[in-house]
């Protein structure tokens, strides 16, 4: 549906070039939810603005429906932009219009007859669940409601693609979940292709099919979400994955954690299970095979893109040579083991 080919964007600041995007190649298939994750300043906002050419790339091509849209004039871009809708972190609703008026806005732009507008807007208001708010002004809505209005407005022009620019970053976790559920619902119901950029791996985990990691203006990794979570190739991707798994060492362990191996202390491990190892009973295997005890301090298991993955903090008690062999056994079975110290 959307292809980016060798997109680069250079900004001038005080006569010095700043490379916001470097040779980005991206292919977003029809009907998918594609996430681009990156830290702030990584270039993700510039990237998403290059898709509908709000920002003109310095070089490279953008294809929409196999049409090269980088060549088009501003005037020729207008009908294309109506097929590529966008929602924003700060909603960008018109404060002078009601919910109804906001959703009607894109329809007024292409001179839709009044009766059709009315019907369509009412359908959309129902779709996003704001039936009793049609006449309210944005100032009287909560953040989640505003984003619902923005989504309804984005859908009014029957787009083929929806661009989400940090659409949930200004919302609390619960509202974020409900907005993401709405996006997923729209994606499935209308077959809408969604490109979303975010700095939160949770968002990717919840709704994306494919994910790309952007860092310093470059796409460093892209794959399916399941693949990324089970076999992240780059450090930056692993950092994002770990950020969704909030595993911290409890204070009392932290205080007596020693970084060198001493007599009577047991290793404290951080285990990452991905893909096939999630379902195998590795802990009880090492218990039997190496005569060690495992003391699980905390553990978490999650699903992303159809792949299970888990993270565990555990202390292994036993003879030093036995615990070492146990760690080796875990590593041999494709578990990522990190020895955090000794307690």
């Amino acid at each position: 549906m959307i292809q980016l080919q060798h997109i680069s964007k250079i900004f001038e600041q005080n006569n010095k070039p700043i490379y916001a995007l470097k040779d980005i190649n991206l292919n977003i298939p029809q009907g998918q939810i594609y996430g681009v994750i990156g830290k702030s300043g990584a270039g993700k906002s510039t990237l998403i603005r290059c898709v509908n050419l709000l920002e003109k790339p310095t070089s490279g091509k953008v294809f929409f429906d196999n049409q090269d849209i980088t060549q088009l004039s501003n005037h020729q871009l207008i009908p294309i932009r109506r097929k590529i809708s966008m929602i924003f972190q700060h909603f960008n609703l018109l404060t002078s219009r009601t919910v109804f008026g906001n959703i009607a806005f894109p329809l007024e732009l292409n001179h839709t007859p009044k009766t059709m507008i009315k019907q369509k807007v009412n359908d959309l208001i129902e779709l996003v669940g704001l039936k009793d708010k049609a006449d309210a002004y944005p100032a009287n809505l909560s953040g989640g409601q505003k984003q619902r209005v923005a989504i309804a407005r984005a859908l009014a022009s029957d787009p083929k693609v929806l661009l989400c620019d940090e659409a949930t970053s200004a919302l609390d976790p619960e509202t974020t979940r409900s907005i993401l559920a709405l996006l997923k619902n729209i994606n499935q119901k209308l077959g809408l292709t969604i490109l979303l950029i975010t700095h939160e791996m949770d968002v990717v985990k919840q709704i994306c099919d494919q994910v790309a990691v952007i860092h310093d203006g470059e796409l460093v990794e892209q794959s399916s979400v399941g693949e990324m979570f089970s076999h992240a190739k780059t450090d930056i991707a692993r950092q994002f994955i770990q950020s969704t798994l909030h595993l911290i060492i409890p204070d009392d362990y932290q205080s007596r954690l020693s970084h060198t191996r001493q007599e009577g202390l047991n290793p404290l491990l951080r285990l990452e299970f991905t893909g096939a190892t999630v379902d195998s009973p590795l802990l009880s295997q090492i218990a039997k095979q190496f005569n060690v005890d495992t003391n699980i301090i905390s553990a978490q298991m999650d699903y992303a893109g159809g792949v299970k993955f888990g993270l565990m903090l555990t202390e292994i008690q036993g003879q030093p040579e036995n615990t070492s062999s146990a760690i080796q056994f875990l590593r041999d079975n494709h578990t990522t083991v990190e020895v955090l110290g000794y307690v």
Binding site: N52, L54, H75, L77, I78, P79, I80, R81, R82, I84, S85, M86, F88, H90, N92, L94, T95, S96, R97, F105, P106, E108, L109, N110, Y137, P138, A139, R153, S157, L163
Partner: protein, 253 residues
């Protein structure tokens, strides 16, 4: 064409209407106890009030007709805006600043040839509309520009992402979104204009200014001067009140 309310005489008509009743004589008698007042002067005062309001309305209107597009252009041709054009912005900005620098009292006499050209005369309330409109338009332009600068950039970006033409952005986003600030600025402008009109009165435009100068100052009748001031204060208060009421109605924050 520039004078689309030639028979605007509400207060004069009101006085004529009230003069049919016999309490009018008591009123005239009461007023005549102040130095310089008589029935003719009361009618003069009503006429002058009509002329002042007439000039506020017409020059406010034509000033906006000139100033609004200039203000929109000042904003939209700025760097990074929808009609970005360095040369046009520089030129319009320069012209606005030049006209804003000319003291109003000088402007009136400076453009007399132009006034005579389009109105046929340079004396009277109709003729005064020309310098008043031209004098107030750069002020309106800058106020509109300022009001538009307050519209969040994200809104324009959103409108562009929906495939709006520049004209649609101006008329469906920029102006409606900044309407409360525009109305507020227009209130201030109209009040400033009331002051300009009093100045224009000093050089033959008619209105309350002329009355105050001619009878109050030159004729040394303090009562007339003070009455004119009271009327001007009431006019300013009414403009402010109307402005505030409209702002309240169009604000949805």
């Amino acid at each position: 064409m520039f004078d689309f309310i030639p028979s605007f005489k509400p207060f004069e008509s009101l006085c004529k209407f009230l003069a049919q009743y016999h309490f009018w004589d008591d009123f005239v008698a009461f007023c005549s106890s102040f130095n310089g007042f008589n029935e003719a002067m009361i009618f003069k005062m009503a006429q002058a009030t009509d002329q002042t309001i007439y000039m506020v309305i017409l020059s406010g209107f034509w000033g906006t007709v000139i100033g609004l597009p200039i203000g929109i252009l000042l904003y939209t041709t700025r760097k990074g805006q929808i009609l970005e054009c360095y040369a046009a912005n520089g030129f319009i900005s320069l012209m606005t600043n030049i006209f804003r620098s000319i003291p109003f009292i000088i402007l009136i006499v400076w453009i007399i040839p132009f006034t005579t050209l389009i109105m046929g005369t340079f004396i009277g309330k109709q003729a005064a509309i020309v310098p008043l409109s031209i004098g107030v338009s750069p002020l309106i332009a800058r106020m509109i520009e300022n009001a538009l600068l307050d519209v969040p950039k994200g809104l324009i970006e959103a409108a562009r992402s929906m495939g709006s033409t520049p004209l649609q952005i101006i008329f469906k986003v920029l102006l409606p979104e900044s309407l409360p600030i525009i109305v507020n600025s227009m209130t201030i402008t109209l009040i400033t204009l009331t002051g300009y009109i009093a100045m224009a009165g000093a050089v033959g435009a008619g209105g309350l200014g002329q009355l105050a100068i001619q009878y109050g100052y030159n004729g040394y009748k303090p009562a007339i001067m003070n009455t004119v001031l009271v009327i001007l204060i009431i006019i300013v208060f009414i403009i402010q009140f109307i402005g505030n009421t409209i702002v309240k109605r169009v604000t949805h924050h």
